[in-house]
């Protein structure tokens, strides 16, 4: 419709005025979880390693991204994400809390490591290991963390036969380290969630030894951090594709994948692949105990541990178009945690092909999946 220039400018001004009236008291509609579950979604900045390495994202960008997708919890590694670890400046710490405030997120989990093979000529003593953990606990407390992804200290297994599950083994020295670190955990108000990562067996002397200590001491500072790599039903598609590229034959790789799904175990699988005339690559894959063969735990076996779960690594590799994790039965695992009374964070930990500029989309798909399984609609 024709109008005078003056009238046109007036319509623009009118439109601008109308647009400036907020439609709600929230400045932007960021999805917030409804009361479908008490568990909270977040992510570990570890997922964004490629983006940070290439310079396309800063730590703040990662926090902003997690907040933008509706995440509430931020997990970091002290040894990666804290400048001048373990002694960041007061200025940086103030900035950290500024980011928590600005993006309306909370510190969810802090990752600790035990470098038992610290020196070339000897292992750390359990005293030294516990002292170094105390340094992390102090920093975690300084940054507002209450829960830790605590690495089970990698010391030799009490029973040599358990070494196939290393480092997730019953170990006198590992337990000693944790017990020596416990007073510092209490002092700094942090909870050691021992990561149950593949190749952990949930039904094992390892897990039982932890449950025994918790029952005996009634401690509230030592428990678990399940990592969903412990519930891998079938190998990642890209792992299999990569093996074929390296010279493995599809029929043999398919056999190994099915052997894994049936929990055949490495010895029997290797024997079978030998009969099939397997080449070096195929035999090596058949024999990988650890992050493969022994990580097919039944999610139901997580149930007795839930009262002692302080943090969760919601590990994922590939979210399909149907919003399911290709290898990991989220629809079976999440209800076990939820019904078991876990109210902490599900921290997305992406271990698919982390390439620059692809992490955000991957984590968003992961959150969309978790929300759909948990019935979070807002």
């Amino acid at each position: 419709m024709e109008m005078t220039r003056k009238a046109f400018i007036q319509t623009l001004a009118g439109a601008a005025a109308a647009a400036s009236i907020p439609i709600s008291s929230a400045s932007e509609s960021t999805p917030a979880p409804a009361a479908a579950t008490k568990m909270k979604l977040g992510a570990t900045v570890y997922s964004y390693g490629a983006d940070i390495r290439s310079g396309s994202m800063t730590l703040e960008d990662c926090i902003a991204d997690i907040a933008d997708m509706g995440g509430e919890g931020i997990e970091i590694l002290g040894e990666a994400h804290v400048p001048d670890y373990p002694n960041p400046s007061e200025k940086w710490v103030a900035q950290w809390f500024g980011w928590m405030e600005k993006y309306k997120v909370k510190p969810s989990g802090y990752d600790t490591f035990v470098d038992s093979m610290f020196y070339s000529n000897r292992m750390l003593t359990t005293d030294e290991a516990a002292e170094r953990l105390a340094v992390d606990f102090k920093l975690a407390n300084r940054l507002g963390f209450k829960a830790l992804r605590q690495q089970w200290p990698p010391y030799p297994a009490d029973n040599k036969a358990d070494e196939i599950n290393a480092p997730y083994v019953k170990s006198k020295q590992a337990m000693e380290t944790i017990m020596k670190a416990l007073p510092a955990a209490e002092k700094y108000d942090v909870r050691m969630g021992i990561e149950l990562h593949s190749p952990t067996q949930l039904k094992s002397g390892f897990v039982d030894s932890i449950l025994e200590v918790i029952a005996k001491t009634k401690t509230k500072h030592f428990g678990f951090c399940p990592d969903f790599s412990a519930f891998v039903r079938r190998p990642q598609r890209r792992t299999l594709a990569g093996l074929v590229q390296q010279g493995a034959r599809k029929n043999i790789i398919d056999y190994i994948a099915s052997a894994y799904e049936q929990r055949l175990g490495p010895e029997k699988t290797v024997a079978e692949v030998k009969k099939m005339g397997g080449n070096e690559i195929e035999l090596r894959y058949a024999g990988i105990a650890g992050v493969y063969h022994l990580s097919n735990n039944d999610p139901k076996d997580l149930a007795p541990l839930v009262p002692y779960v302080y943090h969760v690594h919601a590990k994922f590799y590939e979210i399909t178009d149907a919003l399911r994790e290709y290898s990991i039965p989220y629809e079976e695992i999440l209800p076990v945690l939820d019904k078991g009374g876990y109210t902490g964070y599900l921290s997305s930990e992406y271990e698919g092909p982390r390439e620059d500029h692809t992490t955000s989309a991957a984590i968003r798909a992961h959150h969309a999946m978790c929300r759909s399984i948990l019935g979070i609609t807002a």
Binding site: I52, R53, P83, D115, F118, G290
Partner: protein
């Protein structure tokens, strides 16, 4: 060559001491997802245009401090911080000619929870030396 983030262009140069070129230096960033305390480093090895340097021939510089590889064991509270460079200082009288060089760096670290100790990472790059 494909994009790589581990061998840096910045810092690749000859080392001059008292008017002589005594070697060359090249900076590396680790491929690991966290920083580590120095004693955890098992070794650095540098191969330049097919010639390999190791042990006492390669010193390492973290921030402002230079160490021999053996001496790393004596610094349990110093770190190779995540994404920061380590400058490897290689003894090679006469240094390198200006122009392109094939660089390979092998880093070995005792990462305690991994199935293979030490973890071995190999980085390669074609770098241009100015002077």
């Amino acid at each position: 060559m494909p994009v790589q983030y581990n061998i840096l262009d910045k810092g690749f140069k000859n080392i001059r001491q008292n008017g002589q070129i005594t070697g060359f230096q090249v900076a590396v960033r680790d491929a690991y997802y966290r920083g580590i305390y120095l004693p955890i480093i098992d070794s650095f090895e540098v191969t330049i245009d097919g010639q390999t340097f190791a042990g006492d021939q390669v010193k390492c510089k973290f921030r402002d401090n230079i160490y021999t590889q053996k001496d790393l064991q004596n610094h349990p509270n110093e770190r190779w911080q995540w994404l920061e460079p380590c400058t490897l200082m290689v003894a090679k009288p006469g240094g390198l000619k200006p122009g392109f060089h094939d660089v390979k760096v092998v880093v070995k670290e005792r990462i305690s929870y991994m199935p293979v100790i030490p973890a071995v990472r190999t980085f390669t790059a074609k770098l241009a030396l100015v002077a």
